[in-house]
C-alpha cells in the first residue's frame, strides 16, 4: 500500500517534466497537420448547408480507436471544422472491432435508433440491406446542396462496396486491401540475391509476383541470418490469430487460385468465373474444392516460414515483428507503411518497399475441374478488410444532416488529406490518392506528412496497381449472416494452421458449417441475396 502511494507521488512529479518534453517534439508536426488540413478544408466542396441545422446533433458509431486512432480519429479531428461549417455537431460512439456486428445489429434491430450513422465495415452490408435498416443515398449524390464526391475516381472494387444492386448506400471513405510489404534493403543486397539464385535456381524476384515465389523467398529469408548473428530472422510476418481478421490472409492467397476470367468480358460474373464463395446457382460452398486446399496448404507452408508465434498474433504483434526489424516481409492492410514512418512504432523507416498482392501461376477451372496454367500470373486484387464507410440508419432523426457530413468527408480534398495522414487509418483507393500520370496526388503530400520518399512511392503505387490495374478482384462477401460465415472460416483455418486437422478436413468443416447457416437462414433467400451481391444474372 505504502509502496503504491510513493510510486504515484513519483509519477505525479514526473508528469510535469514528461509533459513538457513530449509536447515540444509534437509541436511542429501538429502545425503542419493543421495547416494542410486548413488548406484541404478551404478547397473542399461545401454544398449548401441548411441553416436550420444549426445547433443540431447526431450520433455516429464507429471503430474504437480513440481520437488519434484509425477510423475514429478523423471523426474527432474534423469535428471543429464541421461545427464551423454548419453550426451542427455530432457525437462519436466507439465500438470494439469484434463487437461491431453485435452492437450495431442490436441498435438497428431493436429500433432504438441510438446510432444515426455507422462508419462500419462493409461486410455487414448484406444484413443492413436485407433487413432494410439503412437508407439509399442516391438522392444526395447529385444534389448541389450536398458536397460533391468524385464518384468516378473511386476504384471499381470499392465503388461496388458502396453500392447494392442499383442503389448507392455508403459514402466514400476508407479503402481497405492487403498488399505485400518487404525490406527493400534486403532484396537489393547482392549477397542475398546470389544466395537465393544459387539455392532456387532463379533470380530473387523483386517483388515476388506469385505466391509460389513468395513462399520460396520467405523460406529463404527464414533460413539465413540476415539480421545479424543470433537475432531473429523471420521470413514473413502474418497476423493469424483467430478472431483477429487472420482469415483475410487465406482469402488473398486463395483468390488467384480460384478467381478466373471468363475471357471476353473479364468483369462478367458467370457460374464458373469471377466467383469465389458459393456456386451462384445453388449456394453450394466452393470453399472445400481443390484450389482452396492448395491455397491453405500454401498458407500453412508460409506460416512455417516465419515465427511459430504468428498463430497468436493479432495485427499489432504481427506488424511489430516487421516494424521492429525481425521479419523480412509482411502481408497486411494499408497501415504498415504509415506506421513504419513513425519512430515510436518502427525502426525500418526508409526500408519499406511494397508491392501488390502476388498472383498464381495456375488457376482452377471449375467447369472442367482442372488446373489451367495462367499466362504470366493470374493476378486478383482484393478489398480485404472492412473498408469503413458511412451509412445512414433508417431511424436517423435528421438524415439530411448526416448525409451532408458523410458526403463532405468523402470529398476529394478531405478524403485525400485523411489518406496522407497515417493516424486516420484511411487508406488510398481513389484516383486522387495516386500519383501522376494516373492520378492527381503528389509525392510531396506524403513526404510532408513525414513519409520517406521511396517508401511512400512504393506504398501508393502498390495500391494503385492492385486497385486499378489488376484485371480481377476477389468479391467481398456481403450477404446476410456474413459474420457467421466468416467466423466459421476463421476458426477452421486456425485449426488447420495449428495442425489440429488437415487442410482438406478443415475446409470440409467450413463447407458443412456454411451449408447449415445457409439452410437456417433460408437457402432460397440467400441465393437471391448472393446473386445480387456479386452481380450474377445467369450464365
Amino acid at each position: 500500500m505504502a509502496k503504491r502511494c510513493s510510486t504515484y507521488a513519483v509519477l505525479a512529479g514526473f508528469l510535469l517534466v514528461g509533459t513538457a518534453g513530449v509536447s515540444q517534439a509534437a509541436a511542429s508536426m501538429d502545425e503542419l497537420e493543421k495547416s494542410t488540413a486548413d488548406k484541404a478544408f478551404a478547397a473542399a466542396a461545401k454544398g449548401k448547408p441548411n441553416p436550420a441545422w444549426k445547433g443540431q446533433t447526431f450520433t455516429i458509431a464507429t471503430l474504437a480507436a480513440g481520437p488519434r486512432g484509425a477510423i475514429s480519429g478523423p471523426l474527432y479531428f474534423w469535428k471543429p471544422y464541421f461545427e464551423k461549417l454548419t453550426g451542427a455537431t455530432y457525437r462519436v460512439v466507439e465500438i470494439a472491432f469484434g463487437d461491431m456486428q453485435a452492437k450495431i445489429e442490436t441498435d438497428f434491430a431493436s429500433g432504438a435508433g441510438q446510432y444515426d450513422a455507422v462508419v462500419g465495415g462493409q461486410f455487414m452490408m448484406g444484413d443492413y440491406v436485407a433487413n432494410d435498416w439503412i437508407i439509399p443515398i442516391d438522392k444526395y449524390l447529385n444534389d448541389p446542396s450536398y458536397p460533391k464526391m468524385d464518384l468516378d475516381s473511386i476504384a471499381p472494387a470499392y465503388k461496388a462496396l458502396d453500392r447494392w444492386g442499383d442503389h448507392w448506400y455508403a459514402f466514400n471513405n476508407d479503402h481497405d486491401g492487403m498488399i505485400l510489404y518487404y525490406r527493400r534493403d534486403l532484396f537489393n543486397d547482392k549477397k542475398w540475391q546470389d544466395q537465393f539464385q544459387a539455392k532456387y535456381k532463379y533470380a530473387l524476384p523483386n517483388p515476388p509476383k506469385t505466391w509460389q515465389q513468395l513462399l520460396d523467398v520467405a523460406s529463404f529469408f527464414n533460413s539465413v541470418e540476415w539480421n545479424g548473428p543470433g537475432k531473429e530472422h523471420q521470413g514473413i510476418s502474418l497476423h493469424l490469430k483467430v478472431g483477429e481478421q487472420g482469415f483475410f490472409d487465406f482469402l488473398s492467397i486463395a483468390a488467384p487460385y480460384v478467381v478466373s476470367t471468363p475471357g471476353g468480358n473479364p468483369k462478367k460474373v458467370t457460374r464458373f468465373h469471377n466467383v469465389f464463395w458459393f456456386d451462384p446457382t445453388d449456394m453450394k460452398p466452393l470453399v472445400n474444392t481443390a484450389p482452396f486446399v492448395k491455397a491453405l496448404e500454401t498458407e500453412i507452408a508460409l506460416y512455417k516460414a516465419g515465427s511459430s508465434a504468428q498463430l497468436s498474433w493479432a495485427l499489432g504483434e504481427a506488424w511489430n515483428a516487421f516494424l521492429g526489424g525481425q521479419a523480412a516481409m509482411c502481408y497486411s492492410f494499408g497501415d504498415v507503411t504509415p506506421l513504419a514512418e513513425s519512430a515510436a512504432n518502427s525502426v525500418i523507416k526508409g526500408k519499406v518497399a511494397a508491392s501488390p498482392t502476388p498472383g498464381s501461376t495456375e488457376v482452377w477451372d471449375f467447369q472442367s475441374k482442372k488446373w489451367v496454367k495462367a499466362s504470366g500470373a493470374n493476378l486478383v486484387g482484393n478489398v480485404d478488410g472492412a473498408s469503413w464507410s458511412g451509412v445512414i440508419s433508417r431511424k436517423a432523426k435528421n438524415p439530411d444532416l448526416v448525409a451532408y457530413f458523410l458526403a463532405w468527408q468523402g470529398t476529394p480534398e478531405i478524403n485525400h488529406w485523411n489518406t496522407t495522414w497515417g493516424f486516420t487509418g484511411i487508406n488510398p483507393g481513389t484516383k486522387y490518392d495516386f500519383f501522376a500520370p494516373f492520378g492527381t496526388a503528389k509525392v510531396e503530400d506524403y513526404v510532408n506528412a513525414g513519409y520517406d520518399r521511396q517508401d511512400a512511392i512504393d506504398y501508393v503505387n502498390a495500391y494503385q496497381k492492385q486497385d486499378f490495374e489488376y484485371p480481377l478482384q476477389l468479391p467481398y462477401l456481403r450477404i446476410p449472416g456474413t459474420p457467421a460465415y466468416l467466423e466459421s472460416l476463421d476458426v477452421h483455418i486456425s485449426e488447420a494452421l495449428s495442425g489440429h486437422v488437415s487442410a482438406q478436413e478443415a475446409l470440409n468443416r467450413i463447407a458443412s458449417d456454411w451449408d447449415e447457416i445457409t439452410d437456417r437462414l433460408g437457402r432460397d433467400k440467400q441465393v437471391k441475396f448472393y446473386r445480387e451481391a456479386i452481380g450474377y444474372t445467369g450464365g
Binding site: L15, T59, R68, A70, I95, D99, A112, E244
Partner: protein
C-alpha cells in the same frame, strides 16, 4: 508456549527441524508474494512504455527503457471523458446493485434467521438463493438480451443494476442470515414485548448490531459487480458502459493496445482493491457465503 502449529517452543528457541520448516515457509511466502505482485508490476511498467517498447522485453524503467507518461496523458486527458464515464458507470451500477441486493437480502436474511417456514423450509429457501451463484450466466444472458431489447432497456444502467443485484443477492441473504443468527433473540425480546413490529425491531435493534457484516456483504456485492463482464458487455454499448467493458474497448482493429490496457487495468482495480482491503476480515465468510467462519 505453543504457536499455531501446536509446536512447543521452549524458552523461545525453536528446534533445528522447526527452523528449517520456518525457512521453507518463509521462502514459499516470498515466492508467493512475487507471484501475486508480478502482474501488477508488469501492468505498471507497461503503462509507462511507448508502443514499440511494449513488444521488447524490459523490466526496469530508466535502465532498460525510457518511461513515458504519454499513455496516461492520453487516457486521462484525451479519452478522459470516456474513462471517467466508465468509472462513473461502474460506481453507479455497483452502488445500485449493492443497495438492491442488500435491501432484499437483509430482509430475506432476517426472515430466514428468525422464522420457521413451512411448506418451503428454511433450508430450501436458503439453497434457492445460494443456487444463484451456481447458475452459469450463459443460461440467462440470451433472455436478458432479448427482453432488454423489447423493453427498451438496452444500454441502461437499470438493467445492469438489476442483473448484478440478482447475482450478488446470495451474498447478502446468506451473510446477513448468519449475522442475525449470531444475535441472541433475547435482545429483541424486550422490544417485542413492548409491541414493536418485526420490521421495527430489525431496523432499530438487529441491523445496527450487524453493521460490520452489512458493510462487508455490501462491499463484496459492489466488488463483484465492478468486475462483472459478460452481462455488461452484452447489454451496454454506449451510455451505460462500465469500466470492465472499457478495458475491452482497448482492442481495436490493430489488436490490443497493451499500453492502454495497463493504464485501464490499474485504474479499474483501484476502487475494488481499496474497499476490499477495508473489509478483509470478512472476506472468507463472505466468499464462502457463510459456510466458513473467517
Amino acid at each position: 508456549m505453543t504457536d499455531r502449529d501446536g509446536i512447543r517452543r521452549l524458552g523461545g528457541v525453536p528446534a533445528p527441524s522447526d527452523r528449517l520448516k520456518d525457512v521453507v515457509a518463509s521462502a514459499i511466502l516470498v515466492l508467493a508474494a512475487v507471484w501475486v505482485l508480478f502482474p501488477f508490476y508488469w501492468a505498471a511498467i507497461t503503462s509507462l512504455k511507448e508502443p514499440v517498447d511494449v513488444f521488447r522485453l524490459s523490466f526496469v524503467p530508466w535502465v532498460q527503457f525510457t518511461p513515458t507518461l504519454s499513455n496516461w496523458r492520453s487516457e486521462l486527458f484525451y479519452r478522459g471523458s470516456a474513462i471517467f464515464g466508465g468509472l462513473g458507470n461502474s460506481f453507479l451500477i455497483g452502488l445500485g446493485a449493492c443497495l438492491v441486493a442488500m435491501t432484499l437480502g437483509t430482509l430475506a436474511g432476517y426472515g430466514l434467521a428468525r422464522f420457521r417456514y413451512r411448506g418451503w423450509r428454511n433450508r430450501d429457501i436458503s439453497l434457492y438463493f445460494l443456487s444463484q451463484r451456481f447458475l452459469p450466466p450463459a443460461a440467462t444472458i440470451l433472455p436478458f438480451f432479448y427482453f432488454a431489447q423489447r423493453l427498451d432497456l438496452l444500454d441502461t444502467r437499470i438493467i445492469l443494476i438489476a442483473a448484478n443485484a440478482t447475482f450478488t443477492m446470495p451474498f447478502a441473504v446468506l451473510l446477513m442470515r448468519d449475522a442475525f443468527q449470531g444475535i441472541p433473540i433475547e435482545m429483541e425480546e424486550a422490544a417485542r414485548v413492548d409491541g414493536a413490529s418485526s420490521l421495527q425491531i430489525l431496523l432499530r435493534i438487529s441491523l445496527p448490531l450487524t453493521a460490520p457484516t452489512l458493510v462487508a456483504a455490501g462491499i463484496i456485492s459492489f466488488a463483484f459487480t465492478w468486475n462483472e463482464f459478460l452481462f455488461a458487455f452484452v447489454l451496454s454499448y454506449s451510455r451505460a458502459v462500465p469500466m470492465s467493458v472499457l478495458i475491452a474497448g482497448t482492442q481495436d482493429v490493430m489488436g490490443v493496445q497493451f499500453w492502454y490496457v495497463s493504464t485501464r487495468l490499474l485504474l479499474a482495480i483501484l476502487p475494488p482493491a481499496i474497499v476490499i482491503l477495508i473489509v478483509q476480515r470478512y472476506i472468507v465468510t463472505g466468499l464462502t457465503l457463510g459456510a466458513v467462519k473467517g
